[in-house]
């Protein structure tokens, strides 16, 4: 991913050329997160006036894991070429179509997505309130910190992968990135340390006077601590992972050689730990 981005964007995250051809003919495999990164990258190039063409072969539907068929069915080509490569391409029951979602439309988008997911899991939409809250936090984070107003999002349900029932959300913006935002107030931190700082409850860069530094903390609490899922954050030269171990959140962060111009958040929820509990409120 990093080397691909580096071929396209320079050190200032600006296009290295005015014309690009993305050649998919040698693509062997693509993960859901790759769909969002590709989408964000093309959006970035178009924003700065570069022309992007896409070269691909026709999807081979006879092949079990044809990446072009996956991209076509995810509506990637529909989004960027205004047509699918294969007339029979259709959204797979386990995915939501790739979308570039503006922050002001994010609530409606997430509401629709929860209706879709509730149907897949045969539970009520209300049961997915915690998952929805996490995704609201991600979009609020984009709005407050990235200096961008749009996130590429792709959602895939894995009903039975390694006997686990999971849902993966990949959301990416090409804003300034979390480390860059934090280093403006904490210049001594490297990108991995900055990512660790960003998840501390109460730490805020005060890009808005109303920020109290709770969003990413809440995200990790809800996904990892309560749901026992996983979160991966790629931003600038840092990667942070948050996984569940014996009731606690295990955090790892490291520096990468490559550079992610913005923030990519992968959230993996378990569906067997989703619970909806109405409870009487008490201050005690």
């Amino acid at each position: 991913m990093y080397s691909f981005i580096d071929q396209v964007l320079d050190d200032d995250s600006l296009p290295r050329a005015t014309d690009f051809d993305f050649d998919f003919t040698r693509l062997k495999f693509i993960r859901p997160v790759g769909v969002t990164v590709l989408s964000n990258l093309i959006g970035r190039l178009q924003k700065y006036g570069s022309r992007v063409t896409l070269t691909s072969y026709q999807p081979n539907r006879g092949k079990k894991h044809c990446p072009i068929a996956f991209l076509d069915d995810s509506m990637f080509f529909q989004y960027y070429l205004n047509r699918t490569l294969d007339p029979s391409a259709s959204l797979r029951p386990t995915t939501r179509p790739l979308e570039n979602v503006t922050c002001d439309r994010s609530y409606a988008y997430l509401d629709q997505t929860m209706v879709w997911l509730a149907g897949k899991l045969r539970i009520t939409k209300e049961s997915l309130g915690d998952i929805k809250t996490c995704l609201l936090e991600v979009f609020n984070n984009i709005k407050d910190h990235s200096f961008e107003n749009i996130g590429s999002i792709f959602v895939q349900h894995y009903p039975n992968e390694n006997n686990k029932n999971r849902v993966m959300f990949a959301i990416s913006d090409f804003g300034i990135g979390i480390p860059h935002s934090i280093q403006r107030v904490r210049p001594g931190l490297d990108d991995a340390q900055a990512l660790r700082m960003s998840i501390q409850e109460g730490f805020t860069t005060k890009t808005s006077p109303r920020n109290l530094g709770a969003g990413l903390f809440v995200l990790l609490q809800n996904v990892v601590k309560i749901n026992k899922g996983e979160v991966y954050i790629h931003s600038n030269h840092g990667i942070l992972s948050a996984t569940h171990q014996n009731g606690d959140i295990v955090i790892n962060s490291r520096i990468t050689n490559g550079f992610y111009p913005g923030t990519l958040i992968e959230i993996e929820f378990r569906t067997d730990t989703i619970e909806y509990i109405e409870e009487e409120f008490s201050w005690d």
Partner: protein, 101 residues
Amino acid sequence: MGLIRVLDHVNHCYSNDDGQVIQSVLRESFDKGEAVVLSFSGVDSASSSFLNTAFIELLNDYSFNFIKSKLSFADTTRTINESIKRRFQFEVNERKNLVNV
């Protein structure tokens, strides 16, 4: 004690702006000395931005004890309850630490 339904005032509990609407409604009641039960009926999620603006900013003008005596919640979920209490607990402690410093 007046019952106020959140969704009578906002469409969702998402942004700071949504929170500001609820904060203003609460202030109006508090300034009259009235207690409020805030109903989350029909609400399935509440972001931290909403909670911070709707409730935590009240600490700028009212003590935590006053807020606890005048504000309660109904039709909530365990997660929303825990989020509200956790945000208050953290911010009240932060403010105490600031005073001690």
